[in-house]
């Protein structure tokens, strides 16, 4: 079996035991609160990881951000999919129907009456009504309808013969990385309680409210206390990154108890200077912002005094505290933000005790539609 050090760089390594631990941790937390998981595939863009998440248990399905992601998941055999953004164009709606035909259940969120009419018309071609969720806007203005307008909108959706309203979605994406922990949880609780109130009201009015889905890794621990919430759309928890660690425990690269299972290995390709060396991972191998750069790690912990800076699209500039790294030396980086970094690669290398035990294709990469 190949050793991880024989893999060409830059490459993504997934430490199998840490990944399993992260997956188990979140599903146990949810189970204790009486909730299920609906893990978000936008993070990993990998149907094999989606399968692993489903097989670990306590999952009601998998989330996709785009209909093209959902279709790729359906093709890979995933049977319960929720598309967490509105599907609004003729081409996308066609793909949604194709996706519905290939899965046991393909849910989609709706935040607009015209869009609901489009979907209702298209869904006439399906053998059964298209299951939908009403998308609530957690006061961030990205997608969703205002809390105050939701009840009337829900009744309109419910009246459409080819749509089957199943519940609500409320995802506060803007809160997930808030560094003030109190504020993050307080604000999320406030918004999720407003969503819960809508959920109860609609239940009271006789609408079929089976699903109340939402939450990300950053607010899961407080959102799990909301009684009405049925499942959580967590994504980053399984691989983790420096951005989440920066929120809570940058020193040990931990967020709550989740740890970085995925790292990027890069190699020194030029070292003619005493101040820094050049490595083979630039903007095309990792997502970079100066605010949350990748962290140089060894055995899962940050190496003090090391610093990665952007050098160009193809290369990084690495500052080191002691002896200069040799040409060809391999450097391990904790990802800055996992989603857009994974999205740059073709595969994830699964590592167990230093050995390569799997290559998981990032098969949803490029599914931007």
């Amino acid at each position: 079996m190949m050793h991880k050090n024989d893999l060409d760089t830059p490459c993504l390594l997934l430490e199998r035991s840490l990944f399993d631990r992260n997956v188990r941790l979140m599903l146990e937390r949810a189970a204790i609160a009486g909730k299920a998981l609906r893990p978000h595939a936008k993070t990993h863009k990998c149907s094999q990881i989606a399968r692993e998440q489903l097989e670990a248990g306590n999952c009601v399905g998998i989330c996709a951000a785009k209909v093209s992601e959902a279709y790729a998941l359906a093709e890979a055999g995933i049977e319960n999919i929720l598309i967490t953004s509105p599907v609004t164009t003729p081409a996308k709606i066609e793909q949604l129907l194709a996706c519905a035909a290939r899965t046991r259940e393909c849910l989609v969120v709706v935040d607009n009456l015209d869009n609901a009419c489009q979907l209702n018309e298209a869904a006439a071609r399906l053998p059964a009504p298209l299951p939908i969720l009403l998308d609530l806007d957690p006061e961030m203005g990205r997608t969703g309808i205002a809390f105050s307008e939701a009840p009337e909108f829900a009744h309109r959706l419910h009246a459409m013969p080819n749509l089957s309203l199943r519940g609500i979605q409320c995802y506060a994406g803007h809160l997930q990385h808030l560094r003030n922990t109190d504020e993050r949880h307080r604000e999320s609780r406030r918004l999720m309680q407003k969503a819960a109130q809508v959920f109860r009201q609609l239940q009271g009015e006789g609408l079929p409210m089976q699903i109340f889905t939402g939450t990300g890794t950053g607010t899961a621990s407080s959102d799990l206390e909301i009684p009405e919430l049925t499942d959580i759309q967590v994504g980053s928890y399984c691989v983790m990154d420096a951005e989440y660690a920066a929120v809570e425990n940058p020193e040990h690269l931990l967020f709550e108890q989740f740890c970085p299972a995925l790292t990027l290995v890069t190699t020194v390709i030029s070292n003619n200077h005493d101040s820094h060396v050049t490595v083979d991972a630039g903007l095309k191998a990792l997502y970079f912002t100066p605010e949350t750069p990748p962290r140089v790690v060894r055995q899962g912990l940050p190496l003090p005094g090391w610093r990665y800076e952007w050098f160009c699209d193809e290369h990084g500039k690495l500052f080191f505290p002691g002896e200069k790294p040799a040409l060809g030396e391999r450097i391990e980086l904790c990802l800055p933000h996992c989603d857009p970094t994974i999205n740059l690669h073709d595969e994830i290398h699964v590592i167990d005790h230093g050995k390569l035990v799997g290559r998981w294709k990032i098969d949803l990469r490029g599914k931007v539609y």
Copy 2:
């Protein structure tokens, strides 16, 4: 034939006539100066564009930033390739040999004696010596050897039996986007003249100096005046972007006479607010920095008052000056920085008079090794 408005979004559109114009413009400029082109494929990651560039004429080859890009180009039938970064690990060197076996000529740059020894040893397996260029550091510290150390290094390279020294590379990547035009050209001239001096000295000392390659789109017009320079490694000129336009003529989105031939089309997927709408292109469909955001364009010109902001990995936030765009409305964006944006997509849609006339696979995407 499909109309461009029927393509699902987000998608890249290449306006055929503008692309042809950009390609012709650069090759004519180089020809007037008595130089050739060696277009850089890192920009477009597309072997079909490389072929178009070669077929347009006045090209001595194609550049690749990574050996895996070079290999993909070789597989696509490109016969003269220069790898513009050092190739330093056993796995990469293996791929370099495979690449050399598949092409008429595969040049690689060298900036380190240990690396040269590695290459010399590996190249013993090739039927002919491996052609190399000495990589000069234009005082930016990314790759390359200092001007002062170059002569001695060149003689060492020349003495290696399995390497065939052909010339030098000097690429001042840090100058290409300098907004001060005078400084950009003055500084580039200063550095390229230093490189030219090394080139002349080595020629005088009897070393086989046939190639002096360098330059990017930002400094080509002044570098073309350097007599010793043989060919230019321009990349962005063929598709162009907002970052280059910001350097010179942001109002008309022009850099010198090059214009944006490549745009990204995105669609409004949520419009429940008066202040902004949400579009389906986020960080996974375009490279974004707040300093040079993508520009909203129509017929190649920026629309005044429109502004794109990042919303999340999957979505953008679009501010508009007048009437709110409808759900499903298509918005065209001039790319912020072409290289890392193209790298997120699977194909380029070639458009002529509004019709789709080609789909060019971005087949070097994911070639980060």
